[in-house]
Homo-oligomer: 223 residues x 2
């Protein structure tokens, strides 16, 4: 379902060029659950942003469901993103002036749901253990609670593909375990394709395959 | 050096009251290195904000270096904070329009350094492995790099007390190890008092004592 050929991303800062990603070719089958690991700064979030259609590569091709997406314009990318991908950002990206409930309802609005949004959002927040925090705004939540709101928001639309950038970094081991059980259940019961960036070997051990990056390049791809 | 009696923090949200912290009494000796652990939402960051003089308790007393600080006004709190505490925030709190170098120089300005600020800031960034990223702004840095800038900023002033709220949550195990070595070295060579909130038992194992919270209350305090 995901196929990249020689993906590269170069950030330009004035005359300086940062090669964040170089020649990355990976394939992810429908229904697979894979993890991406690598040192801080090795290009994991950069790769996730390309896979999640949040950014365009500097060179290389990216096929999503057989469709070339690496050269689409912003509107076309946004439309694919909203329809197919649930994305958990490394820094959550919650809207600060909306409650947890309103934040989680947002993708349902964009998807055109007229009824039942509040119930679905509430159920998603319950699934991540935040039933009693739904009316809190992000600044009224702990770090791990904000992370769980971001996870609930990514899942509320039942996406075909879940991409999570370090989803348990702010969670204690018990909460992290509950989140992984939730993700594994979606993968096993609904066939959701899952890509998780993680620094935690315990999380990676629960996925089928580990893709390793170092200095922007692929160094390992296997079980 | 740190002594609290029955510290409580209640957040008021309209008519709802959230008891984030209740009756916490702890003591930290000068030169000790302790960790604080507990489930997501158990009150760790709330406690750290009180200890770091970033907030005032609803009730209870807090003595820092024998001085009652729990009833000081904002200016007095800020003055104590800048002079004695280096604080690493769970969400980094970097200034988005300044470079990493400028962010790390900031505490030196507040402390009144006229010369050598840039060299000290550069050295701090080098110590956390970011020598080649000093002119990047936060949005031009990876999550783990932003975390390390926040750590460098907390250390650049040689504070008597380092308080770090989950300083390795976004770091791979190698970078996390390097940061811990840096912190342990400060503790052993300069007698810096260190309090680390962490979800990582590997980090906690390297401290002298673990303070555990659950639902805002102290449940364990020992080795
Ligand atoms: N401004 C606020 N208003 C209302 N409730 C708040 C506010 N800030 C925090 N809380 C609540 O207080 C409790 C403790 O929050 P705190 O941030 O101290 O938790 P924590 O132990 O640091 O959690 P984590 O490990 O997830 O970072 C949480 O349940 C949170 O929802
Ligand atoms: N907008 C940008 N401009 C310039 N350089 C950037 C920009 N964004 C990221 N970088 C650089 O690209 C490299 C890869 O960044 P990326 O965020 O993908 O790393 P990462 O693997 O996710 O790291 P972490 O584990 O710390 O989150 C880093 O060295 C970073 O400094
Ligand atoms: Mg990242
Ligand atoms: Mg916290």
């Amino acid at each position: 379902v995901i196929e990249t050929h020689n993906l590269c991303k170069v950030y330009k800062m004035g005359i300086v060029e940062v090669n964040a990603l170089c020649g990355v070719s990976i394939t992810v089958e429908r229904g697979e659950i894979v993890s991406i690991m690598g040192p801080s700064g090795s290009g994991k979030s950069t790769l996730m942003n390309l896979l999640g259609c949040l950014d365009r590569p500097t060179s290389g091709e990216y096929y999503l469901d057989g469709e070339l997406v690496s050269n689409l314009n912003d509107d076309q990318l946004a439309e694919i993103r909203n329809r197919k991908v649930g994305f958990v950002f490394q820094s959550f990206n919650l809207l600060p002036r909306m409650t947890a409930l309103a934040n989680v309802e947002l993708p349902l609005r964009y998807a055109g749901y007229r009824n039942g949004r509040t119930e679905r959002a509430r159920a998603a927040l319950e699934a991540v253990g935040l039933a009693d925090r739904i009316h809190h705004r992000p600044t009224e939540l702990s770090g791990g609670q904000q992370q769980r709101v971001a996870i609930a928001r990514a899942l509320v639309n039942d996406p075909a593909i879940l991409m999570a950038d370090e989803p348990t970094g702010n969670l204690d081991s018990k909460s992290g375990k509950e989140i992984m059980e939730l993700i594994l259940k979606l993968n096993q019961e609904r066939g959701t394709t899952v890509i998780i960036v993680t620094h935690d070997p315990n999380i990676a051990a629960q996925t089928q395959r580990v893709i390793r990056l170092r200095d922007g390049a692929l160094v390992e791809d296997g079980v």
